[in-house]
Symmetry: D3
Subunit: 284 residues, 6 copies
């Protein structure tokens, strides 16, 4: 039986548990609709990850979805077609409509970016149908794992739009094969787990969803056993460096560590290394 | 028989045809010289791609070369040795010579960059000898495909210069293996189709040139069947994101889509998805 | 017998030789301590690479380590624990301690970055234990080669800190698989030569250290036989482009080559190409 | 009598009114403490400006303070000394303390930056004591006006810290006299309205606070009479351009206006220009 | 009588002359319409400045307008209202309209930016009505001079749009008083020569247009008497530095001068300095 | 009598003293040559400022020059004409010459930039002839003061070159009047103290050199009496912000202060403020 995580009741669309000490597990819970997202869901998802970000009881997060068939089929198109973007709400003025759309996209982006901004590492586990928003969300995670049955697609061009929740901004930065990135983004074609692994979109493929969750839990537990000061600093600096020059990265690292080396973790970790004991770190 | 494309007569060094609806095919046509480039050719190439960029009858472009032996052997060195860079034209003043060279490089870069700036996706198909300028040009394309017989080389150091038409600026951004990028750029050694595929320089290798062109045509036709608003936005945002931070990419995407979601394509595509019909999109 | 390199006597912790014309070989020489680094060593390393950078007798550099067991086990933790970072030296003021740490990190970074800033290409050969600082240093090299027995780890989180000498700023830029980068940086797990090759961290794996040194020497000799103007310009522009947009890269390339095409190497190289002779280039 | 503004009840530390159509007036209301700020105040201020940002009934905002003596004396130091930054809360671990401080600064910065991010132009009116946070906040406003009695100081060095809520990041970008900027920031000396005007920190000085509020109201009313599409786009692009190159600014402007020129305001404004009538614009 | 400038016949909307050796004078010539701009004019203006940029007979350019009443009243609104932006041309699709607008703005921007990109310094002389496009164009010039009667306005918000030809991107970078910049851009209010001088928008105010042209001619003649290598390098580096960090500016300067110090001008200028003679410089 | 500053003997071209506690005064000492600079001087200057940067006994620096006639007449042209840039040393190869020039400029820039990178504030006092290198050096200082007799010129175009030691990169960032910046840089014309003050190049003009030194000493003494943690952080963040976006500036500030608020200075300063005593701060 999986332990609950204190303080995360009241969320409607996600299950939140704690499979191991300092590890949180967030699961999208709308399997009857292939875990398709409606607005209430992404708003809730943003809240959850903002809360995890500062929660001293959490040092690593797993993100997956309930059910056998889909990590997510993306935006719930039926719901979206009645939302503010598609319905013109009586206005005939293009600039006012565009303003509403822009604000709406920003809000949506902010919710999903909360996964990336979460101070703790996030491991995403994808299975089955993983399209559209699945790619946007998983690009925000730190580590991407999937099961063999995963079927991916950057699906947005098939509904007549350029993806706008982050895939197009993040994918070319996290996968070093731009010819492939352009291919899948422009054609919206499906690709499987093997191809995703070969190009480096995921870094591990497991036999099935259960094994993938197990692998993620093991990795999350390993990361959660390390100094949280070290781990969270590593995530922060890696994300900073992706978007800045090496020169700026080095400078940022130096002033970051000027504060963060003032840590008891340094001594605990070194001492444990020598004594071959398991260090314990204060909460962060 | 391949259809001609309206409005592209009068080009001397390139064949331009339309193998499928909304698909253009540009072929370098100087096979007797291994498709080596002289100045008139790159100026013409720039004009062609600028024209394709705004042509409402074109939604995807294939770029390849005529003949069996070479995609291109690069700059026509014999011709270049009589051009403005190598001949000092009587001036003994280094700064004036440098000014002429700089202007000349800018003009050359602008012509080749027109491939990248073309609003429509460009699929390049390389075969046989593909060296020097071949790498500069293919780095500007969105998707790189080749046949098994392709032999590549970033050849410039062998003629005593650093490549200056774009390879050194683009290759490290489109291939995520810098040790390999440095290896081939510093040594000018040849590498084959298999190696190119393994490191992600090309995303598909076909048995021979004919099959490679076929594969490119199929992919171009697929892309051309999608909403041009969606496809062109996707290319634009992917290229923008390559050069900017994720934060800036998200902002750019939001204001781009604020305008571009005001599209009938969105409804047509969604409706077609539900009805399982093939959508038709207005010209762009 | 390996030739010495003029002007490099007086260094205590490194062997410096010249295995071939225009090729320098720098070897870390503290095998009895698994080539662990103390402060005197990184200061000396910085001096050596600054000297090689402008040495007209050097056109390519190999960097490896003496002994069978380790390229380096990283920072000498025993020595470091008595250094300025860990010992608070009686101050109880966090801001003053942070200032001392910041200055110390900058000095350390500068020494290691000298490898990257060296105007000549650097090929690093790693074997055996290659952890912590091994990754920082090799990320500064242009080309990474290893032997089969190499065991790598971004080890810093295991001593309670985020790596601050460059790994976190450079690794995401030189390896195009961010899921893997995050995995190894956050977990500090070991990975071997094969995995390093598969993700593109190294571009060649050899049977053993001897063969790896041989391969590096051969590649260095090849590079050293090319025009130094061409080779050094290529390194410079590739490094510049990694950190800047394509647009800026093209502009930088144009003004760089405006000066550097005024080179006799261009004519020598072209002429040798036609005559099938081996060109000789003036020192640089 | 000043009209209230619908929907802004329930704020404790600020008065919010509407002195003219489409104009909001926000007043800090803690005159008995020289309008010094406690945490609850900056959190509330952030909420107010985020609400004004999307409020269709507001097209321009005036920001000033109640009372005769001070716009604000800055942070309430007495309260702050008991807050999370100064009290170490029992932790002896520098890195954990630093983490808490960093999160706290981000939250504070976000509240104040809401003034800058407000989509509607903000005119700040300063009078009397205007130090510390007064400079941080006014640097976020679009237009700075003051009365003759204003006494300014970038006061932070006097309490042993570098200003961290924005003054040091914004002041050098909005005042083109860096020698002066460094002078006042490093010395914490006081300067008056005349000097503030001479260097361009404020763009208008009025005889007293009443006249300054009048001038601001007049200007706000003028701005509020213009097309909100035009005005808000102008603010957005000016702020974007401050932080980006001209080239990027032009590109951003083009895609912004691609959406925003689809506005009835364009026709209304032009027509009114010809007909010499006062145009009316739809809400935004 | 003013000399003509060779090679500039055939332009319909501008007069081009040469008031002094190496000095060109470009005059907008549509005084009967207050020098309002139609599309044909900005396209021609772009061509003229691109030609001047590489013309070896030109070392400094003056830009002013014919007639007594206006430098320019900006865009010819009557003509524009029948152009591609305002007329929807039958399309009801917002994204296609937006695409046309975006392309149109880019073309307009490119024409005006040609003033900034002209390799030779440009001195603009403004008089009388100088609104809208007057500000866009003059922001591209290097030096801004005006006569006392000049009346300026960033007029665009008055026609319901944010200025999109460059004012909003350049003005905050060339005038160091952002409170004033925001004031005039958001209110569209008029300001005179004195105010323009006080804030640093213009650097000189002359009694009338004739005297202003005289002052510009004198300054242009002085600049044209200097080494063109020195002058053009100075313009280039100043513009580069406006948009880049100091660190990047220094690097750019070093590689620029690595080429440009190979100039006979250096010796001629130094020698003339010693000998007190007037140096003559080779064409550039 | 002025006190000496410990540890600064052995410098040949500069006098170094300590006019007040924690204040250093550096004086160029070659009055017989109008304080013209030879290479040995700028190398020494770089060493001095690097030493001052970390010297715990120094909290503010004054930089001026000995003698009545000149702050500096710039580069010693006679000496330079025999240096590596002007003498081609027998090489006829433009690229090798350019390489030597580039390295030489970098070394020169690094020496002068040491003024800017000095962690302590630098107040420069200029008098009399202040041309060429005078502008480069003073642009690196934090605060610029001059006496009435100062005569400035960005003199480089008069010797046939674009200034390359920093003026062109820094001047447009520290003076917010680009029309004026372009005017003086392109024309090399002289300008006086009054004009320098009006445009904001200097922030104070004193009657004569003695009074200017007095004013600088007073200001330096004031700054040196403040918390060095606060003062040095303020300089660092202001310089960082000049070159980065506001968003990046805020982030940098937050992580800087996360470390630097752990300072006893904060408590000492606050307590002294309440008690109206003069605080004493620990060395930094």
């Amino acid at each position: 039986m999986v332990a609950t995580l204190d303080g995360y009741t009241g969320f409607k669309h996600f299950l939140i548990s704690s499979p191991a000490e300092y590890v949180a597990h967030v699961e999208t819970n709308r399997p009857e609709k292939l875990n398709a997202f409606i607005e209430a869901m992404w708003l809730e998802l943003g809240q959850i990850f903002r809360k995890l970000s500062h929660d001293p009881n959490v040092r690593a997060v797993i993100f997956s979805a309930v059910g056998e068939r889909a990590f997510t089929s993306g935006l719930d198109v039926h719901a979206a077609s009645q939302g503010p973007i598609l319905s013109q709400d009586g206005t005939s003025d293009g600039s006012r409509y565009a303003t509403r759309v822009r604000r709406n996209i920003y809000e949506f982006q902010d919710s999903i970016s909360a996964i990336e901004k979460c101070e703790k590492p996030v491991i995403v586990v994808m299975h089955g149908i993983s399209i559209g928003l699945a790619i946007d969300m998983s690009c925000c995670a730190d580590i991407r794992i999937c099961s063999k049955d995963a079927r991916f697609s950057v699906k947005e061009v098939d509904i007549g739009m350029a993806a706008d929740i982050g895939t197009l901004s993040r994918l070319p930065k996290i996968v070093g094969n731009h010819s492939w990135v352009k291919d899948v983004c422009l054609s919206a074609r499906f690709f499987g787990a093997e191809e995703a692994f070969a190009v480096g979109f995921v870094s591990k493929v497991l036999e099935n969803k259960t094994q993938a969750i197990d692998a993620a839990t093991k990795l999350a537990t390993l990361i959660a056993s390390k100094s949280p000061v070290a781990v969270q600093g590593t995530k922060e600096i890696l994300n900073y460096s992706r978007d800045n020059s090496v020169e700026d990265g080095l400078r940022y690292t130096a002033i970051w560590n000027a504060a963060m080396l003032q840590s008891n973790d340094l001594k605990s970790a070194m001492l444990s290394g020598i004594k071959k004991t398991k260090p314990r770190f204060e909460k962060l």
